[in-house]
């Protein structure tokens, strides 16, 4: 039995359905991220687990106990908010102690627990400060300590890093992950930042328009997206539209592309779309992945010819867009100081392995 279980959870506000048929089983100690664009229902789902929203139907269970209709203060679920939500009238130590006092911990136990939590977040020297005297990153660490102090069964984090600057975001996400591993607490993390979700999670739930599009480990989500939405939302993806030639080949702008995974039941002549990640394609004659291949590998690769549409120099990486028919194919190549990037308009040949071609289903 899963530790946290959401079964056919649905939520609607009047006629507007924001979450539908949401099924998820989270194991004890697992770190699961809800990833999706604004309005996809990820925060609403999290709020239903926290008890701030009541599902229109379905059930939520923790360790087999149905908590669907329990009040938020009866759930033993810790939550960290995007806006920190520290109590402005209380010091850091008082904020951390709040939940313990509410839970009627012995006075002799509250102090050491607060101290322990402040040590964990490495802010014991700020115990007497007020929230307005702390930076955003420090406030969020205090919020994390406050949520964890009461030893919740599940930790919920609602876009906790989105209000912070890039550098702090990266260091704090590493801290959150290592803390979660250390405490072994079951965690649900809501984010619209794919890098955050992929780098921190054991599993990622990609949501779109209130539905779960795909659940999987980050590697699977990135490399084997099940829907066109997942493929587009997670990472950069070039979509090339064409027609099926047979079960394993597609015609793109008059050129044939072999597909390693096959097209399934697509009939010859049927419209279909394939997709490529920027890192799997190589611009022939411009170094990169293809330059180090043996001739057998090289012969198996697909080749598409087109013209350079755009060249973006990103420092260590150069992102080149090649126009193939009506579509653009993006590819990344490492910067080589000895090789000048190609110019716009020059003819180009892009090669890629049939195994790296993704076939997109759905919209």
């Amino acid at each position: 039995m899963a530790f946290l279980e959401l079964k056919e959870v649905r939520k609607s506000f009047a006629q507007n359905v924001v979450v539908q048929n949401f099924d998820l089983a989270v194991e004890r100690g697992e770190f699961v991220s809800f990833l999706g664009p604004s309005g996809c229902g990820k925060t609403t789902t999290l709020r239903m687990v926290a008890g701030f929203e009541l599902p229109s139907s379905g059930s939520i269970k923790i360790e087999g106990k149905d908590i669907t209709h329990l009040r938020p203060n009866q759930r033993n679920v810790g939550m960290v908010f995007q806006s920190y939500a520290l109590f402005p009238n209380m010091t850091v130590a008082e904020n951390v102690a709040f939940g313990l006092k509410v839970a009627k911990w012995q006075a002799s136990e509250v102090g050491p627990r607060v101290e322990e939590m402040l040590n964990i977040i490495k802010l014991p020297h700020l115990a007497t400060r007020y929230p307005y005297q702390l930076s955003g990153g420090q406030q969020q660490r205090v919020a994390l300590a406050r949520a964890l102090a009461v030893k919740p069964q599940v930790l919920l984090l609602d876009e906790p890093l989105s209000a912070l600057d890039a550098k702090i975001r990266i260091s704090l996400r590493e801290e959150i992950r290592s803390l979660q591993r250390k405490l072994g607490i079951t965690t649900i993390y809501v984010t619209h930042d794919q890098e955050e979700a992929l780098s921190m999670s054991d599993r990622v739930v990609v949501m779109n328009e209130g539905r779960v599009d795909q659940v999987g480990v980050p590697f699977e989500i990135y490399n084997q997206p099940k829907t066109r939405f997942v493929a587009n939302f997670v990472g950069t993806l070039s979509v090339l539209n064409g027609r099926a030639v047979d079960g394993s080949r597609v015609e793109i702008a008059g050129q044939t592309v072999a597909i390693g995974r096959g097209l399934g039941n697509a009939a010859a002549g049927a419209e279909c779309a394939i997709a490529l990640r920027p890192e799997v394609a190589t611009l022939e004659g411009f170094g990169g992945q293809g330059a180090t291949m043996n001739s057998a590998d090289r012969a198996e690769r697909n080749r598409l010819t087109g013209a350079i549409d755009d060249v973006a120099f990103l420092g260590s990486v150069i992102r080149i867009k090649v126009r193939i028919g009506n579509d653009l194919l993006s590819l990344d190549t490492f910067n080589n100081p000895g090789v000048t990037p190609p110019e716009r308009g020059t003819p180009a040949t892009v090669s890629f392995s049939p195994a790296d071609v993704l076939v997109l289903e759905g919209k």
Binding site: G51, M79, A85, F87, N89, G99, Y130, Y132, A147, V150
Partner: protein
């Protein structure tokens, strides 16, 4: 426009502002200075504080002032008990009702006090179903409640502004998530964070209650307002002294509102 012309235009507009300021100041200050000066002329041929001494020596002054202070405190207490939970709940769950609530709280500004008090007398007279005017204590209660009504527009706005300045919903959810019930949330989280707003409303309420005449007079209670009227009708210099004292008291209240307002701003500046 040349630089010199621009400078001249700026100087002219500044001059206009200064003239407006001086006229405004004179309009407010001259009567005050006149009243103050008159209040010092009780002793023939020289300035003295005799009028103030006379006021302070009058037992009716002390009694009525203390009575009104007591009523003001009762009004503030009842007002806070009614307004804070209402404004909090409107902010948290009933946002759509905000315009309705705001309209209701504005009614005491639109309906004259005399209309309200006649309504009370019809509803709560000694031969009615709820004879609040039959006993002294119940009439005092009715007066305090009528003061709550009068101060409602000010108290509600002060508290509502304070609540809007904090993220009520998230703070409530954070406290609830940590296991807190409604009483803990209201008294430990919300009230301390709107304390300066409540104090602002309290000082405004205090200033209103201290000078209120209509309600106290028609309910026949020995408040400071009717005392001011009585002294004004029968004495020469004491009314001026009382006017100056009332003015100082009101401005002291305004000053305290400012002090607490600033303290709050400084606290949130970080």
């Amino acid at each position: 426009m040349t630089r010199r012309e621009k400078v001249n235009t700026m100087k002219q507009s500044r001059l206009g502002s200064w003239i407006a300021l001086v006229i405004g100041t004179l309009y407010f200050v001259v009567p005050l200075v006149g009243t103050f000066e008159f209040s010092l002329r009780m002793r023939r041929g020289e300035y003295s504080l005799d009028a103030y001494r006379s006021v302070f020596a009058d037992s009716n002054f002390q009694d009525s002032f203390l009575y009104s202070c007591g009523m003001a405190l009762a009004t503030i207490f009842i007002g806070v008990l009614i307004v804070v939970p209402t404004a909090y709940w409107v902010q948290l769950r009933l946002r759509k009702l905000r315009p309705v609530i705001e309209f209701i709280t504005l009614l005491p500004l639109v309906i004259p006090a005399i209309v309200i008090v006649f309504g009370y007398l019809r509803l709560y007279n000694s031969s009615s179903m709820i004879p609040l005017t039959a006993e002294v204590w119940s009439t005092d209660l009715l007066l305090a409640l009528s003061y709550v009504t009068l101060a409602l527009p000010y108290m509600y706005r002060a508290v509502d502004t304070g609540l809007r300045a904090i993220d009520v919903r998230t703070l409530t959810e954070a406290a609830e998530n940590l296991g807190a019930g409604w009483t803990t949330i209201l008294f430990k989280v919300i009230l301390p964070n709107v304390r300066s707003a409540i104090l602002s409303g309290a000082f405004l309420t205090f200033a209103i209650v201290i000078g209120e005449f209509t309600m106290a007079s028609l309910l026949n209670r020995p408040a400071f307002g009717p005392y001011l009227q009585l002294v004004g009708a029968n004495r020469a210099y004491e009314p001026s002294a009382l006017a100056v004292m009332a003015f100082v008291l009101t401005w002291a209240c305004m000053g305290l509102i400012n002090v607490f307002g600033r303290a709050k701003q400084t606290k949130h500046a970080g």
